[in-house]
Every structure is written in C-alpha cells, then in structure tokens.
C-alpha cells in the first residue's frame, strides 16, 4: 500500500480521512488556504502545504498547486474528500496523469455521472427507473412545451447542479418562466453553466440513497440505504439508517437497482446512488455521487464497516473485504448536520466567531467536527460546523441519545441550527418515521426559537460567569497556583481539579 496520502480538503472530512490514514500507519499531508493557516486539519497532519488565498478558486480548487504539493512532499495518493474537487473529472485525470493514486472512481465515471442528463440516459439503458422529464440543453420555449407533457408540479434543475443549487419547484404554468430565469441565473453563478432541465416532481417523496462500493476486480456491493429526506433549502440536515420507510423486500429491490447502476458504469471505490421514493413504493434514479458522502458515518455505525478504510484499501488495489451476504445492518444510526445558520431567518448562513465550543460525548455518540473555541467561521466555505451522530440498538434509543446529545452541544457566540434540530428530532412526526422531504415545511413552518425569560438559575450562572471573568481580567491568581503553568491559572477562584 502507498505510505503517504495528501488530503485535498479541509475541516472535519480532512480530519476523518487523516484518522483513517494514521490507523494504518500512513503519513498525511494537509493543504490549506490562508484562511486555514491554523486550522485543525493543518495541525493534525504530518506535513502541510499552503495553496493560496482564502477563496476556493485560489486554493482548494487549484489543481496545479495541489499536485505540486503532492510532488514536493512525496505523497503517493490523494483523497479528495467531498465538495471542492471531489467530483471534478479533470482533477481525477490530472492526479492519475501525474502518476499518483486518486482515491475515488475513474475520471470517465466521474464525468458521466457529473452530467445529470448523461447519467439519466445511462441509467435508462441499464434498466434503472428514472423520473419522467426533459433532456438538458433545450431553450425555454422547448422546456415550456415539454412541461405540458410532464405535468405539474415539476422541477427546474441545473444540469451541473447539486445540493439544491439552481433548483425550483413550479406548481402551475404561470410561474414557469420566472423559475426558468432564476434557475439559469443561479446555475450560471454557481457552475458557470446555465444548462437546465425539467422533471416530474413527486409529491411527499423520500430521499433514499444507497452506499455502493466497487473494487478493481469487478466486485460491487451495497452497504444498504440512508434516508436523507429531511432537508431545508433542498439540503440534507438529518440522515439515518435503516430508513423507517423500507421493508426487507423494498430494501432488496432498491439495493439491486443501486448495484445495477454502479455496475452499468463499472464503478470503483465509494459511491452513492440517490433514489427518489414515492409513497406508492415506486422509486426513481436521481443521481450518483462519485465520492464519499457527508453522511457516511451513519452507514459506518449501522454496518460496522470503516468506509474510509475501505476507500484506502480499494485504491491500493485490494479486493472488497466483504461479499454482499457478509454485510448487515446491525444497529440504528442518525446524523444531524450542525450549521452556522439562522433557522428563524430562512436558514441563512451566518458568519462570526464561535467563542466557546463543547461537544457532547458518551456511549452511542460520535462527533465529526473541526470546530474549536475561539474559531472564526470563514465565509468562504460551506457553513457546516460539525456532524453529530447517535446510534443504538434500535431507532428509539438512537433518538433518545440524539436528543440528549443536542441538548449537551454547546456553541456560543454564533447562531446555529442546534435548537432547531432538537425540535426536529423531538417531533412526534419524526418518532413516527413520517420523514418525507416535506417534513420541515409541514411540521415546522416559520419556526422561531422559543426564547423564554431567563430563570433565576440562568441569571445566577450569568452573574457568576461575569464575576469570574472580571477576576480573570484583573489577573488574580488562585492561592496555590504558584509555580504551575496552566491556562486556567488566571481564572482566580476557578481552580480545577477533582480533589481538594
């Protein structure tokens, strides 16, 4: 196996990949922008190379700079993480062209799956059901005509899009033209490509995706589903597995479709087949993500498989460690995404400084994060701060743990969606598994945080915290702090220690 890996990413996913490398004795190389000069992923690596200024286009998207960093440090393989260049066929090509190992599928697969329309055509040939809709590239007149056949409601989607960017739901013909122009504008801004297309909008659908893995010896397996239906602004915020909507036979049908989809393109390494599931049990191919997924931890916890570990082994040419019949869903796992955003103001991203951060811990709790106290949230990158995962023997115990973990998750100084997520998880509709994509609009419309008047206990803690702050700032040291170096030394009466 290769001995040094460059991680072409930042934040929690860079840390996640580095941990998997270190367990296997592989050295790690971080890359960073000026905004990340002191970031956790830089401090965690064995080596670190600067790419450029903060904007992604000048750093994390600079293929040449990344390849140079690999060359200078002697890295033999590159892991793209997700986002940034992870689904850029040119990058996969350039990495291999430079004689390095790209930890992901072939450039051709990335390219064909990168175009929704090509992917759609491929899947139709492979016999995987797709949503009725138009080809991409048509002008507005053609689309408006086609809309009549598809029928309403329908969706306007960007050909190069993803994560809801450039997506519009249109419920009657009158609103179509405005939606087309808005979608084109967003698509152009986001992807420098304003190609759009239409497809049927399935009411109360569920977003069910299957984790697939292929090796270079022609073996392909799936690691079961993840339900990611709970979304805001068409972006996932809650993911879980198993899905409360699937029974064994449906799970098997969908799993086989996912494997067929992967086989149709000769898929290698980790990928995800996204399917749309209607209330009637019909499902349609949406798209295939040719990379590790943000929500991969729920699959790791439910199946016991280390997905990043498998990525490394397969990239090194090893065969898949397990056959399909050796894979099982052992436990129930739920992930929520912690964002710096304001759920009460249309989930707008917010920036600022997280003055104090305390992650929950305990049995059945995992936090994949790179957020620290006193950390500024850079405006240049995705505002996801961390992922909180809770698991247990069954769905109710995973939910109970998640509720408590969200209550214990402390992020002060910047607005987050933590309280919102708590109410999602605590909602009876969630307990009932009624988690289609309309969950939030239906159950939590125009949500506002309850902001009760502070109780006496809150005011007591506030006053005590303030007085400790004052004595800290006046530099008073605790009696026997004499010659000890300690960051807490100046906290005055707040000397720590379990024993007197």
């Amino acid at each position: 196996m290769f001995r040094k890996v460059l991680i072409a990413n930042r934040g929690e996913i860079a840390l996640r990949v580095m941990r998997a490398c270190r367990e296997r004795g592989l050295r790690t190389v971080a890359v960073y922008s000026d905004a990340d000069a002191n970031a956790p992923h830089v401090r965690f690596a064995d080596e670190a190379v600067r790419l450029g200024p903060a904007p992604p286009s000048e750093s994390y998207l600079k293929i040449d700079a990344i390849l140079r960093a690999a060359k200078d440090t002697g890295a033999e393989a590159i892991h793209p993480g997700f986002g940034f260049l992870s689904e850029n066929a040119g990058f996969a090509e350039a990495v291999r062209g430079a004689g390095l190992i790209f930890i992901g599928p072939s450039a051709d697969v990335v390219r064909s799956m990168g175009s929704k329309t090509e992917a759609r055509a491929l899947m139709q040939r492979a016999g995987v059901p797709v949503v009725p809709g138009t080809e991409a590239g048509a002008d507005d007149q053609v689309l408006i005509a086609a809309a009549k056949d598809i029928g309403y409601p329908l969706m306007v989607k960007a050909s190069a899009g993803g994560g809801g960017k450039g997506m519009r739901i249109v419920r009657e013909a009158g609103a179509l033209e405005a939606a087309l122009s808005a979608a084109r504008r967003e698509a152009k801004a986001a992807f420098a490509d304003d190609t759009i297309f239409l497809e049927r909008y399935v009411e109360r659908p569920r977003h069910i995706e299957f984790q697939v893995f292929g090796d270079e010896h022609g073996n392909i397996v799936h690691l079961f589903e993840r339900e990611c239906s709970i979304q805001r602004r068409h972006q996932k915020i809650v993911e879980e597995t198993p899905s409360p909507a699937l029974d064994e036979s449906l799970r098997q049908k969908m799993g086989e479709a996912a494997v067929a989809a992967a086989r149709a393109v000769g898929y290698t390494n980790a990928g995800t087949v996204e399917l749309l599931l209607g209330p009637d049990g019909d499902f349609y191919f949406l798209e295939m993500n040719t990379r590790l997924q943000v929500e991969h931890p729920v699959t790791e916890l439910a199946t016991g498989i280390d997905l990043v570990g498998w990525q490394l082994r397969i990239a090194a040419g090893e065969p898949l460690p397990r056959k399909q019949d050796e894979l099982r869903q052992l436990q129930h796992a739920i992930e929520v995404r912690i964002y710096a955003e304001d759920p009460a103001a249309g989930f707008l991203p917010v920036t600022g400084t997280a003055e104090y951060v305390r992650e929950p811990k305990g049995p059945g709790i995992r936090v994949d994060g790179a957020l620290e106290s006193r950390q500024e949230i850079p405006i240049h990158y995705d505002p996801m701060l961390a992922k909180l995962i809770a698991w247990g023997a069954d769905r109710p115990s995973a939910i109970a743990r998640m509720k408590q973990a969200l209550a214990d998750y402390v992020v002060l100084g910047v607005t987050t969606n933590i309280e919102f997520l708590r109410e999602v998880i605590a909602h009876e509709a969630f307990a009932k598994g009624e988690t289609d994509t309309g969950f939030i609009d239906r159950n939590m419309p125009s949500w506002k945080p309850k902001s009760p008047a502070p109780t006496d206990e809150v005011l007591l803690a506030l006053a005590a915290g303030e007085s400790a702050r004052k004595s800290e700032r006046s530099g008073a040291a605790g009696p026997d702090d004499g010659d000890r170096f300690s960051p807490w030394q100046t906290l005055g009466p707040w000397r720590p220690g379990g024993a007197a």
Binding site: A461, A464, P496
Partner: protein, 164 residues
C-alpha cells in the same frame, strides 16, 4: 458587582458579593448563597445551591454574553452606565442583512407600501439566492443598496416606516 442585562426587551439586574467560602448573588431582590465548583473547563460555570447543581456554559464578546443552560442558549447584552450598549439590537424599523453577500435584485422602491412577508430584495451568498422579505407591514423609507452592491452582515438594507 452589579450588572444590568438586556434579554429581548426585558432587563434583569444581578449583584454579586464574593465571600470566603462562596458567593452571594442578588437576582431581582432575592438573595442566593451559592458555592462555586472548580472546573478544568474554563467556559464551564458550576454552582451549588443547597443540593441543587447549576451547570452552565458562559462566553462573552464586547457587551454580549451567551449562557447555555439545560439545552438552551440565552443571549444577553450588558447595559453600559450611559444606558447605551455596544452591539445592541437594530431598531425595529430597519432591515439589516443577515449575512455578507451581493445584492442581485431590488424589488421595491422608496415610498412604496409593503406587506409583511413581501419580497424586498434578493441577496446572493455562498452561491445561493436568499429572499429578504418584509418582517411587517409598512412603507419603504429608504433603500440603501442597488443590484450589484456588496453588503456586509448587519448592514441596513432597507428602512421601513411602521404605520403609527
């Protein structure tokens, strides 16, 4: 040490008198004798009030204070002697940008009457478009930006006259 705290539109006053073996805190006229528990976590505030343990997390920036207690985060602003306080809320009539970004489209003009929820302008940030809607009925008194302008977080975008 006495402090007055602004929480939403209420005010709360606390007074702390440290003693040798604990501290006395006055909240709204009631006196509490408390013991502080030492913690290695500098943001952790733990008090013992009889048998009851109060564990909270505290942070400060400028005149702002955040306190996390039993799963809820409370935001306070310290009232300065003059009564004026840095980083206070914007007055109800102003509509400020919740984030840094670029104005894509302005959909109202000055003098125009708007209804609560009506779209005023569109801001683009992080490659997404965000609709800035009127929080209440009123009349547009001033529009501070035009399409194409960059705006900072907290910048006043539109001033809306609230009908008396």
């Amino acid at each position: 040490m006495q402090s007055t705290w602004i929480h939403g539109d209420e005010k709360h006053t606390t007074a702390v008198r440290p003693g040798s073996d604990g501290l006395t805190i006055d909240v709204g006229g009631t006196q509490f004798r408390l013991e502080r528990l030492e913690s290695s976590d500098p943001g952790e505030v733990v008090l013992r009030n009889g048998d009851r343990i109060i564990r909270a997390y505290f942070a400060a920036r400028g005149d702002e204070r955040w306190l996390h207690f039993e799963g809820r985060t409370y935001h306070f602003t310290l009232e300065r002697a003059g009564g004026r306080s840095r980083g206070g809320e914007a007055s109800e009539g102003d509509l400020t940008s919740p984030m840094p970004g670029k104005v894509i489209e302005v959909r109202v003009e000055e003098g125009q009457a708007v209804k609560s929820g009506q779209s005023l302008l569109v801001i683009e940030a992080m490659k997404m478009e965000y609709d800035i809607a009127a929080p209440f009925d009123g009349t547009v008194a001033k529009v501070h930006f035009a399409a194409g302008d960059m705006v900072d977080a907290g910048a006043t975008l539109v001033e809306i006259q609230v009908p008396e």
